[in-house]
Symmetry: C2
Subunit: 488 residues, 2 copies
């Protein structure tokens, strides 16, 4: 065994020397060294336990023994490519298919959510013969070139981005902060009409829409739950234009939403996407993923004449692990647990909303929950720095939570699916204390700031200081730029 045990400072030093500096680390000023994990708990190098509220990859719990055993046994026996027949591949495809509507029957196994989404775009373009893609504001679909193009969450980070001419961005169907809100009589139709407008514009320019792609629930985009009926209406518009609907389930699939196995099913039984992509939780951390589509799309792709071969995709080890994950979800009723604990967690958080003005919105399904923090419930001023402060304070108390969304002010819960009501109690209790302290701290802080502020020269008045972080006052664009550096 080559991996020894280094001092934390030595680990940090080696990382600085040999790992790309674009690969960020959580809590970079004092990163965590995790050496072990079990269920919903992670342990650092001195044995301190952290409650993990963020790892949606360790879906059935970190290092689940059934998954480890399935992987280890198959690794001993055979690990080769899918150009040979193997039962694991076909049985796994059959089991995955059984969780989906009948028409989604053909699988392609790949190695990551990014590879899955790239293949989905290729399938859509071959099937339709069209090129244009409609994506959502704040969407994140992966880290490879073709996906950065369709991920405003990523390409907005670039200073000199050249927008891909075939990519069109529709408003995020966010009924809290978006263009059409909860008080709108029919936000589903209104948001879908925005997609229709884009289609019309594409047509006017002589283009043709290959696909509309959306995460079934936006995660990096700020835990956004689209209004029911939105996907149906969008699919109608897109199908009429000859395009297909791609549902990206990379972050939210496999029972996380509790009531359904797939998050797109929250929209109603009358909605079936043409292509579904999977990822993160599918192998409980093992690098694997899948694209599922219809026979018609698959046949069109084949008729292009190009073989599809993926060296590691669908190997017997990955499929054994994938099967074990499905087994554990059923055996331990993790989907049911997600529903029960998710409901419990949301109730606790709703109480926090009543108690603390900073909590602007609680939204979620199952164990996919967002807590949007705002400084003002009417103006919805994003409480970005406060969100970061809460994360840091929770980390000091050994609770791992993250924040995301365009303003990084949405606390994201997406824990392993074995998360318990006791875990929910613990994290909300700690949040409550922080929010209570924060409120007192904030009042003292604001008074102090007022004194300093009034003494500053005029040209510095545009900045306000909070918890040591600097923001452009009230200008959302400024907040967005700053939050890049705040990300943990």
């Amino acid at each position: 065994m080559s991996a020894g045990s280094l001092d934390k400072t030595a680990t940090i030093d080696l990382r600085r020397r040999h790992i790309g500096p674009s690969c960020k680390i959580f809590f970079s000023h004092d990163p965590i060294k995790i050496v072990q994990a079990k269920g919903q708990y992670m342990y650092d190098e001195i044995g301190q336990r952290y409650l993990d509220c963020i790892n949606n990859v360790a879906h059935v719990g970190h290092c689940h023994p059934d998954v480890v055993k399935a992987g280890a046994q198959q690794m001993e026996l055979l690990n080769t490519n899918s150009r040979f027949l193997h039962d694991n591949l076909v049985l796994y495809a059959q089991r995955l298919q059984a969780t989906l509507p009948d028409k989604l029957s053909v699988c392609y196994f790949v190695n990551s959510g990014s590879e899955a989404n790239d293949l989905a775009l290729r399938l859509a373009r071959h099937y339709t013969g069209h090129k244009d893609i409609i994506t959502l504001e704040n969407a994140y679909h992966g880290h490879i070139s073709s996906l950065i193009d369709i991920s405003p969450y990523k390409f907005h980070q670039l200073s000199d981005t050249v927008h891909n001419q075939f990519v069109h961005v529709a408003p995020s169907p966010d009924v809290y902060r978006g263009k059409y809100r909860a008080d709108h009589p029919d936000p589903a139709t209104a948001y879908a009409d925005e997609v229709k407008e884009i289609i019309d514009k594409v047509h006017k320019k002589g283009g043709k829409v290959a696909a509309f792609i959306a995460e079934s629930l936006q995660s990096c985009g700020g835990q956004v739950i689209p209004p029911a009926g939105y996907f149906q209406r969008v699919a109608d518009h897109v199908h009429k234009a000859g395009g297909v609907f791609i549902a990206d389930e990379v972050q939210v699939g496999f029972g996380r939403v509790g009531t359904h196995f797939w998050a797109f099913q929250l929209q109603g039984e009358d909605f079936v996407p043409d292509i579904v992509t999977m990822g993160k939780p599918i192998g409980n951390g093992h690098p694997m993923s899948c694209v599922v589509t219809t026979k018609e799309v698959a046949e069109a792709f084949m008729s292009s004449g190009m073989e599809y071969f993926n060296t590691f995709g669908g190997n017997p080890v990955s499929c054994a692990i994938g099967l074990a994950v499905l087994d554990v979800i059923v055996k331990e009723d993790l989907q049911g647990n997600a529903q029960r604990v998710g409901r419990y967690l949301i109730n606790l958080l709703e109480q926090q909303k009543e108690k603390h003005p900073l909590v602007g919105d609680i939204r979620g399904c199952g164990l996919f929950v967002g807590v949007e923090l705002v400084r003002d419930r009417l103006k919805l001023t994003p409480a970005t720095a406060e969100a970061q402060e809460i994360l840091y304070k929770l980390k000091e108390q050994h609770i791992l939570l993250s924040a995301d969304g365009p303003y990084r002010n949405v606390l994201k819960f997406k824990p392993p699916m074995c998360f318990s009501t006791e875990d929910a109690d613990l994290v909300v209790e700690k949040m409550d204390h922080i929010l209570t302290d924060n409120c007192m701290f904030y009042q003292i802080f604001i008074s102090t700031l007022f004194v300093i502020y009034s003494k500053l020269p005029a040209d510095e008045n545009g900045l306000e200081c909070h918890s040591g972080l600097v923001h452009s006052k009230g200008r959302s664009q400024g907040v967005r730029q700053q939050t890049k550096h705040l990300k943990i």
Copy 2:
């Protein structure tokens, strides 16, 4: 455990129903069902042993116990993302770096050779600020959108390909069949000058070259060994144009070439690429890969402002497996074995060349060997059908070999690195029998064909028939189109 044991016909049936038809299988008319493997041997469902001459992914031998153990132990302990500190990540990066020239010091861990090459293009474009890419004829760099664009091996398969305007194809430095051959006084310079010409054309059109990318030895392109000095001269031209040199080691790295750990090192110590991509053998089948580059390139990438996060890349399990693979290569002197057995194999094959006119060229380094079959040693008419016949006959005798190159007439040896001289004896002995039989068969066949041929109407004379396969006579394009259907 969910994966049972199906009848072979049931496996085939389920595969037909649930796996994308573009995912081809070896020997599709009678595919092999492999259930177990060890070292360089694979076993089918009735216990028949196959000698594996093709799996360069199972690098240190199928299911190597040290690799399996390292993976299983780490899976039990922790498998999470690289936003937490972990020793495996940094120690593995350090160990990989130690195999490379000093200036290649910064690693990015990803999940597949395709992800690695896509990231390499992104790094090159961010660092240089340029867009144009120069690639080689017959090159294969991966299956995702951005890489199909730079892989003539793939995009030539499409009937309606639209060539990417930023991609430029230089001649493959193939001194057997290429533009400049062994009898040329300086093929390295001549081929490099072709790249220079492309750069000049790009500049004339107002473009700027971001990168030249090449497999250090072309594999799918037909086991091509570029003349020494070619990469240095290309690098000179590309650097002068402000671009970088990307060496794709996905197929050929990790000691396969015997004399060196990396195939680009065959070019001489004075050549160092700016970016190296790795893949297939790196994890002995576990889905992982890596991009290594210089500090300067890494810093330029970071300064773009975009974080790079790869969910599975660099997780502790992948790194433990990667470390174990490096350990086994050293412990079992597999690089030395590749050199010794490779030399032995090439000697045996050279004897076949003396004996059988069909064997046109033997080329290789270590356990990366190509046998190019030709019907005419002067005209170099590709013996495509004969190559396929040999593969099928070897398969009947439980030896797995493949053929590739633009005419699918190059037999490819790239076995697990524990391949032995006895294995080499066995496969060459079987090939000898097949070639001897084939010679007799071929003479009878040609006589028969002559009788039929002389009776055909004139407009059918453009086709010649061999082993039941139809080819356009002497027109390489025709051969190329046909070979699509021949691929096993």
